[in-house]
């Protein structure tokens, strides 16, 4: 049975049919200890089937070393959302429930090559960046506030070559979540040092980036 019902499928198609650039969903899976790998693959295949502007590639994190290196992948499952170039958009874990919106947003902004919604002050700050920013957002699929935090990370990553955005489904990566003591979501972590709890306005994230540099 399809994962997406007809109504959702139609909505997805409408959102993705006219993407300016083709978007490649590059998935890395692993053979063991990955209960959701097959569902994620099925999901992105269904998403790609709604639009000829979206394609799917699937690699194995153990065997496809060249691709792993090319996309800088250190854990799986993950979807790299790649537009005209690799903007550094990654979704780790299953983009289910509310997080499906985050995946779609990532595809849209990667396809457009520009953020959906960033204010002028944030764009101006990003334009002046000259150091790398690793922007991680921890989420759970059942958290209604989480997509709002995650899409901000994707928007910033699309706008700046210095920003790489990892959205991480915390439940599937307990070691990483444990490292940051993630016990509430959404949690934004900037450059591994600055944490901002909740769906924060862009200015708070900008302040945290500044503090992390």
């Amino acid at each position: 049975m399809a994962l997406l019902n007809d109504q959702i499928r139609d909505q997805v198609s409408e959102m993705l049919v006219d993407l300016p650039n083709v978007v490649r969903l590059v998935m890395f899976k692993k053979a063991e200890d990955c209960p959701y790998c097959s569902i994620i693959e099925e999901l992105i295949t269904e998403v790609a089937s709604t639009s000829d502007r979206v394609t799917v590639e699937v690699y194995d994190i153990e065997h496809d070393k060249e691709q792993v290196a090319a996309y800088g992948i250190d854990k799986a499952p993950v979807i790299a959302i790649v537009g005209a170039k690799d903007y550094g958009l990654r979704f780790f874990g299953i983009p289910a429930n509310y997080e499906f919106s985050t995946l779609l947003h990532g595809i849209q902004v990667a396809g457009a090559g520009e953020p959906a919604q960033l204010d002028a002050a944030t764009k101006s700050f990003l334009a002046g960046l000259n150091k790398p920013v690793h922007y991680e957002v921890f989420v759970t699929p059942t958290c209604p506030y989480c997509p709002g935090a995650a899409v901000l990370a994707f928007d910033m990553a699309v706008h700046s070559d210095y920003v790489k955005a990892d959205v991480v489904e915390a439940g599937e990566f307990p070691d990483l979540a444990g490292r940051y003591n993630v016990m509430g979501v959404p949690l934004n972590v900037l450059n591994h040092t600055q944490r901002v709890e909740g769906r924060a306005p862009a200015q708070m994230i900008v302040d945290a980036i500044k503090a992390s540099l």
Binding site: N97, Y98, C143, Y145, P147, G184
Partner: protein, 326 residues
């Protein structure tokens, strides 16, 4: 097993501006119901929320007593539907925009100021501010927020898989959300200040008969302990004075609610808890300003009641706006 939802809140449209017929402060069940009725009636409506739309109901795991859903519906789903319904009829929604002042200008003109220094003009305003979970104000609560202390089991419950969790408060919210946490946790200990639970019987039966649950009644939580994260709680038996320490990984707090009405002090009359006093028709006494839903004094904190308030207010708004035209 999984659902796949589409939420476009990341792509909020800028408000159209100009003079609104109706501004609604708060996008919970009361505010959105009013927005559905009003916008469907052709009333130009702008709804503010200082957070995501949906209010407290959107953080409720499962709602079983909202009519029309015989199997129940998740709180986020119900609120998502209300939001879409309001937007379908043209209501504009401004999320993450906190209203900081309501300024009466003249009859048929109120000015709404927001935290981002924006100003909006409306002929009439509905205060649908709702309420938010009350804090316990015990040592450790603030320090460990996000590190084991949570007020949203729907959001954070999955992070406590196979962990030991404490839920403070055995009222309706505590037990309802406790049922959600019981899906994940190794154990759930409920701590209730009163000697009994005031929750609905059906929730009491489900939680008290659950093999992973333990209840402490007549106990007061006095401290949340931890190092980098929560490691335990301290509670006191209110009858014997005995102090009990309980190791745990997480603490979910459901000890009632409190409104965010401080910015309205001096403008509207409130009771000692900060809830807004209104007349039977929900008018505050300030020209063009009504209060609806949970923020209204003597409310019942039920989605159905908030919906009814929103409905009545939208109909009152139609009459009020028509009178302004005369």
């Amino acid at each position: 097993m999984f659902e796949f939802k589409i939420d476009d809140s990341g792509q909020q449209q800028a408000p159209s501006g100009g003079l609104y017929d109706l501004a609604i402060v708060g996008a919970g069940p009361a505010g959105l119901s009013a927005a559905i009725y009003a916008s469907r009636d052709g009333i130009k409506t702008l709804v503010f929320d200082k957070s995501s739309a949906g209010g407290l109901a959107a953080t409720t795991d499962w709602i079983e007593n909202y009519p029309g859903f015989p199997e129940g519906i998740s709180g986020p789903d119900l609120m998502d539907r209300m939001q879409k319904q309001a937007e379908r009829f043209g209501a504009e929604l401004l999320e993450f925009e906190e209203v900081t002042q309501i300024e009466p200008v003249s009859k048929g003109h109120l000015r709404v100021h927001t935290a981002s220094a924006e100003v909006f003009d409306a002929k009439m305003v509905l205060l649908a501010l709702g309420s938010h979970p009350k804090k316990l104000n015990v040592p450790g609560e603030e320090e460990y927020y996000g590190r084991g202390v949570s007020y949203c089991a729907t959001c954070d419950g999955p992070l406590f898989r196979d962990k030991d969790v404490v839920i403070v408060g055995a009222g309706n919210s505590g037990l309802q959300e406790g049922l959600n946490v019981l899906n994940y946790a190794r154990s759930v200990t409920f701590i209730e200040f009163l000697p009994y639970s005031i929750a609905e019987k059906i929730l009491q039966e489900r939680t008290m008969n659950h093999p992973k649950s333990t209840f402490y009644f007549n106990h007061m939580l006095t401290e949340i302990k931890g190092d980098a994260v929560v490691t335990g709680v301290v509670m006191k038996n209110r009858e014997t004075g005995a102090v009990v320490e309980l190791p745990c990984d997480g603490v979910f707090i459901y000890v009632g609610y409190t409104p965010d009405t401080r910015f309205l002090e001096g403008l509207v009359e409130m009771n000692k808890w900060g809830y807004i006093k209104t007349d039977a028709q929900m008018w505050t006494g300030v020209e063009g300003l009504m209060a609806i839903g949970d923020v209204r004094a003597s409310n019942l904190a039920q989605v159905t009641v908030a919906v009814a308030d929103g409905t009545k207010a939208a109909i009152a708004a139609r009459e009020y706006l028509a009178e302004l035209e005369v």
